[in-house]
């Protein structure tokens, strides 16, 4: 009788669900011919960047699983990785052994920072993203203090090449010549002139297996439970705060490895800026791949890195051809990275509200059915 009151709003959410990757596909598709790069060049660049950036982006997955949103705190991990790299550079350990030792050195630092981050985020429930973001800045201040004032004074540094001329403090740019490409060039494969860094990909595959594996452990199950509904998880006796802290620690540690892989590819480290970019670019890439604040998969990671970095490659050239200024393309790219994060965050927030509404509608229809039954 009173059918129209409980409107049954049925909408397809396909476009809003996939708006970001679709939009990017369009931009990239339009940009490729404009840039005028050859296919083989693009493929080479793409493979390179996939191997370089994927690991960092993958490190974002675990906290998303635990419902803590995008972990802007991976910059903490990046800093830890860089500390490892500073030491192996100083001690002069090269190649894959150097990378491994850098990772082992970075791990305790990352665990410590991750623990701290977890503690802070537990205190700031519901405001995790903005808190981890600010925490990144805060720890960056401390990192600069350690790097500029303690290294070479309190923490012994042997090699004068990496110190500022005044005798203490790490230089702005540190050459990582000893480990440059160590992982990429170990067992690399050339197919039709395109070099494939096989080992790096192997590490990434291992990581993916790790993600799948951890999902099937008790810890993974707890994380998913906490991620979906904190209060229910708490009621069932799961130690929520600890689970959340662990997820952040895992993410931070992995990010430190990711940063090491990233920098071995670049071969130089900007001591005080390399890590800052890690957070923003990884998150933007993940979101471009169609992930949301609450849901992200391996597909999102790789699709995202591919699309986002394709834009990186083509935008300066496309800008130059289009308006005659490479700088303009560069600004466009910066705008797109920030724009895409804002857009994804907005879409997620809007969708979360729409979903609440959808649930309400579902509840109403069920009640309607009940009423109908009764009458």
């Amino acid at each position: 009788m009173k059918k129209k009151f409980f409107h049954n709003e049925e909408r397809t959410f396909f476009f809003t669900d996939h708006a970001v990757p679709i939009l990017f596909l369009i931009i990239v598709a339009a940009g490729i011919p404009l840039s005028g790069y050859s296919a083989s060049y693009l493929i080479q660049e793409m493979l390179l960047r996939l191997s370089r950036d994927s690991f960092l982006v993958l490190s974002l997955l675990v906290p998303i699983m635990a419902g803590m949103g995008l972990n802007f705190g991976i910059v903490l991990g990046s800093m830890a990785g860089q500390i490892g790299l500073i030491f192996i550079t100083d001690w002069g350990i090269a190649g894959i052994p150097g990378l491994f030792i850098a990772a082992v050195l970075g791990t305790p630092v990352a665990v410590l920072l991750g623990y701290l981050c977890g503690k802070v985020l537990n205190k700031a429930r519901g405001k995790e993203m903005v808190s981890s973001y600010i925490l990144g800045f805060f720890i960056n201040g401390l990192y600069q203090f350690v790097g500029l004032y303690m290294m070479g004074k309190i923490i012994p540094i042997i090699k004068p090449e990496i110190l500022i001329s005044r005798g203490y403090g790490i230089r702005n740019a540190v050459s990582l010549v000893g480990i440059r490409g160590a992982l990429d060039k170990f067992l690399d494969l050339k197919i039709m002139g395109v070099a494939i860094p096989v080992t790096t990909y192997l590490v990434i595959v291992l990581f993916c297996i790790f993600i799948v594996w951890i999902k099937n452990t008790k810890l993974g199950q707890d994380m998913r439970a906490v991620g979906q509904n904190i209060s229910v998880a708490e009621l069932s006796g799961i130690n929520v705060n600890r689970t959340r802290t662990i997820s952040i620690i895992i993410s931070t540690v992995l990010a430190s490895y990711g940063q090491i892989i990233f920098l071995q590819n670049l071969g130089t480290m900007n001591t005080y800026t390399s890590h800052e970019m890690a957070g923003v670019f990884s998150i933007a890439a993940l979101l471009v791949g169609g992930a949301t604040v609450a849901k992200a998969s391996l597909v999102n990671v790789f699709l995202g890195v591919a699309l986002f970095h394709m834009l990186f490659i083509i935008s300066p050239m496309a800008g130059k051809r289009l308006i005659g200024s490479a700088q303009l393309g560069e600004y466009f790219r910066v705008f797109v990275s920030y724009g895409v994060i804002s857009m994804a965050l907005v879409l997620h927030a809007v969708k979360a509200r729409a979903q609440n509404a959808r649930q309400r509608i579902q509840m109403r229809t069920e009640i309607n059915a009940e009423v109908g039954e009764a009458e």
């Binding site: 802070v120 205190k123 700031a124 519901g126 405001k127 993203m129 903005v130 808190s131 973001y133 600010i134 925490l135 800045f137 805060f138 960056n140 201040g141 401390l142 600069q144 203090f145 500029l148 004032y149 308006i323 200024s325 700088q327 303009l328 600004y331 466009f332 910066v334 705008f335 990275s337 920030y338 724009g339 994060i341 804002s342 965050l345 907005v346 997620h348 927030a349 809007v350 509200r353």
Partner: protein, 351 residues
């Protein structure tokens, strides 16, 4: 004795540890300064000038916090509006006091338009405002980088000399409106001390204006929306509209704030200049004792003074003590530490 203790505890509770620590730190910096060869009068001058410069931008936090939109990390939106006003004023070569106020007046319609769009996003994302505001700020700054390169400004002091197009990264306002406000009724004591009276008068007018606004019907409604949107709604207040008003007001204050800043600083900073503008302002108001939900004019004034005091005094004192420049690090640690403290503090009021 017991009473003293209770008063002390109450004071600590109300002021909060960070504010007390920073206050003591600042005080001790002033105390040490003469012994390490830093002139107190010069330092005080610097602090006052900086308080005047930044005051209005810190004030721009108040409306949004009050209406429950959280900390205004999207301050760059207002800054961009202010920049547009300033640039247009320079383009038409309007100088002096007229120029300053023309710039402000021109910037207001821009801030209303920008603020409206900013608000329409903020209203859709209730509960996640701060992160999104940050990124809206960043996006707008990045977008305007393209704008600065393409907009048809022609005044030779603004555009790159060699190509004749695209705006410079920094543009001097000397000969336009540099210090026109600061110098009103300003006075000097001795060789080093200078007090920018005009700037403080203007800041005072803004503060009183905002204070009065929050006693008006709209202002009261705004506060109610921030404290309890359901209550406001039940009292016939249109919640979304109040939030929109507050965002527009914040944006306009941001625009006026940046023009004040340029007036004293002497330069217009374009491109990535406004990128991190929000953070010192946010930190300052939190240092003043504001929380994510409540902010008053007192918080603005106290906070700006403490924050600017620290960032001026700490480097000069520490530099002369240790001969190294730690100003940047201190600024980063203090401002972000303060924001973190506010984010992790338990909200006293529960709904």
């Amino acid at each position: 004795m017991e009473k003293m203790r209770r008063i002390l505890l109450k004071f600590i509770d109300e002021a909060g540890w960070p504010r007390i620590i920073i206050g003591f730190f600042l005080f001790s910096l002033f105390a040490i300064a003469p012994f390490v060869g830093v002139r107190i009068d010069t330092s005080l001058k610097d602090v006052f000038v900086r308080v005047g410069m930044n005051g209005v931008m810190v004030l721009a936090m108040v409306p949004m916090i009050r209406s429950g939109c959280g900390l205004n990390f999207g301050l760059p939106v207002g800054v961009i509006a202010g920049l547009l006003g300033a640039l247009i004023c320079l383009q038409f070569e309007i100088v002096g006091m007229t120029g300053l106020f023309t710039a402000m007046i021109i910037s207001i319609p821009f801030s209303v338009i920008f603020g409206y769009f900013y608000a329409s996003i903020i209203n859709r994302v209730k509960g996640a405002e701060m992160m999104i505001a940050t990124y809206i700020g960043f996006s707008v700054v990045a977008l305007m980088c393209i704008g600065w390169m393409l907009l048809p400004f022609t005044n030779p002091i603004m555009v790159w000399g060699f190509s004749g197009e695209g705006l410079r990264t920094t543009i001097s306002v000397q000969g336009y409106y540099q210090d026109v406000l600061s110098d009103i009724l300003s006075f000097r004591i001795g060789e080093h001390f200078y007090f920018p009276t005009g700037m403080f008068l203007f800041l005072g007018v803004c503060c009183v204006g905002i204070q009065l606004f929050f006693k008006s019907r709209t202002g009261l409604a705004m506060t109610a929306v921030g404290k309890n949107p359901d209550f406001a709604r039940a009292s016939t207040v249109n919640v979304d509209r109040m939030r929109t008003h507050s965002v527009i007001l914040s944006t306009a204050l941001g625009a006026i704030g940046i023009i004040m800043y340029q007036q004293s600083f002497g330069f217009i900073q374009l491109y990535m200049g406004p990128f991190y503008m929000a953070f010192p302002a946010v930190a300052a108001i939190l240092l003043g004792g504001a929380s994510l939900k409540n902010a008053t004019i007192t918080h603005v004034l106290v906070g700006t003074f403490l924050f600017q005091g620290i960032v001026t005094m700490a480097p000069s004192v520490i530099n002369s003590m240790m001969e190294s420049d730690m100003s940047e690090i201190i600024r980063i640690v203090v401002s972000n530490g303060m924001i973190l403290y506010a984010l992790t503090r338990k909200e006293l009021y529960r709904r």
